[in-house]
């Protein structure tokens, strides 16, 4: 099992979600995060006090799946989340040691 962690631009979330649903992925967890890479922040001015806002809001999507689905999912996310501009985000893949479905107690591949 692998965990796919995708950090994307917030306005792309619906598109990514639809694209993943279309290939049969029914579950995911998201959270609102902030960060930056090469995308610079922006300036805000309040009565002459200038602040640089470095951290840009992003959405992080976590999906845990069986190994054989990883490549399809990466391809799907890249296609649906890409705008071609700096700040599109990144995808990381982690190994997952165990997964449990709380309602039934199922473990391993049956749980994802």
């Amino acid at each position: 099992m692998k965990k796919i962690e995708a950090i994307i631009k917030p306005f792309k979330l619906d598109e990514v979600k639809e694209a993943l649903n279309a290939i049969g992925i029914q579950g995911m967890t998201i959270c609102e995060v902030k960060g930056f890479g090469r995308q610079k922040g922006h300036k805000e001015i309040y009565r002459g006090a200038e602040y640089v806002v470095d951290f840009i809001p992003k959405i992080r999507i976590d999906i845990v799946v069986d190994d054989n689905l990883v490549d399809t999912i990466i391809k799907t996310i890249v296609e649906s989340a890409c705008t071609g501009n700096i700040g599109d985000g990144k995808i990381f893949v982690y190994p997952v040691e165990e997964a449990v479905r709380i309602r039934t107690g199922e473990r391993g591949k049956e749980a994802v």
Binding site: E44, Y46, R47, G48, A49, Y51, V53
Partner: protein, 431 residues
Amino acid sequence: MKLKSITLTGIFSFIPFSAFAEEIPSINTGNTAWIIVATALVMMMTPAGLALFYGGMSRYKNLLNTFAMTFIAYCLASVVWVMWGYTLSFGTDINGVIGGLEKLFLSGVGVNSISGTIPELVFLMFQMTFACITVALAIGSVVDRMKFSSWIVFTVLWLTVVYAPICHWAWGGGWMFKMGALDFAGGNVVHINAGVAGLVLCLVLGKRHGFGKEAMFPSSVTLTALGAALLWFGWFGFNAGSALAADGIAASAFMVTNTSAAMAALGWMAAEWIRSGKPTVLGIASGAVAGLVSITPAAGFVNLPGSLVIGLVAGVLGYFSVGVLKHKIGYDDSLDAFGVHGVCGIWGAIATGIFACPDITSTASGLVYGNPKQVVIQLISVLGTAAYSAVGTLVVIFITKLVTNGIRVEKEAEILGLDNAVHGERAFEID
């Protein structure tokens, strides 16, 4: 036909009666109704207008504390005023310095007491709302770091020691009034007074932790803009109500107040747009308030051209005072009580001496209308107010420090946020 003319004669014969009853002072119901309404308008300026205006500019973690200080200032001033504030301000003059104590606890002021053409109770209530907002204005300089208990003690002492005398000097028959200083609705008494007090407070309190290094975002420019709009609305009561009558001067004050506010909002917006590249809503709202502050001493004395100039200068001056000067000098007047109220109040007071037009109030004439001496008189009143406010505020701070064992919150409380540390509350239920 005959019955009709008898009836009409009967009705019309009662009207001149009141004009001949000059020996017995009586109330004018039109004036009374207006001043009651004006009082309610000014009342709203403190716990609603100012609280929102300042609260929106405070950091989120201190939003409620800012509200609390403003709200409680209104409550404290309400009570102090009717106990001893009114008599000290408007009691019988003692050497031009202070009023007597004959109306302590409103002694002798009853249902039938009259002040001018309105019930004395209405007059003193109207004046009370001015005391309330004046002390609340100083909050702008101290947000994020003052002890709540200290604020309460400070408010009570400051109203007694600083506000009441200055109010007496300008409006209660004291030396500024006798000298001929013009202050229609409180340029000196309210804005310069509060602005200087705020400046002294922020210098004694010291800068906020992280000032100049950390980002200190306003919690909500939306709330601030709403507060500014409520202040503008209430200011019609503040300025037009200071005519103490529902008459032509009130009408004139009404018109110039709106004009100055609008010009100043445009002026601040233009100055900011040119200098920083973006017109901010905070700037527009601040500009409106700057214009309202500046027109306050001049409201019943200047005409349209005067108000256009006063407003425009107020907006631009306010912007530079707050957006440029403060950063250059580096003092932490958190929400610009001095930068807006102090500086624009001083401009307004001097501008009154320049633009006062005898067509409006026949006894008030300024530089433009051949009376340059008025500018000098205004300057003296400004200096007198500023000097006394500074010294008086320092004394009050000193006593407050003793009574409450220091006026600044602990560093951990300041970092945590006063909504949590002082009140145990959150402003909004958001994640």
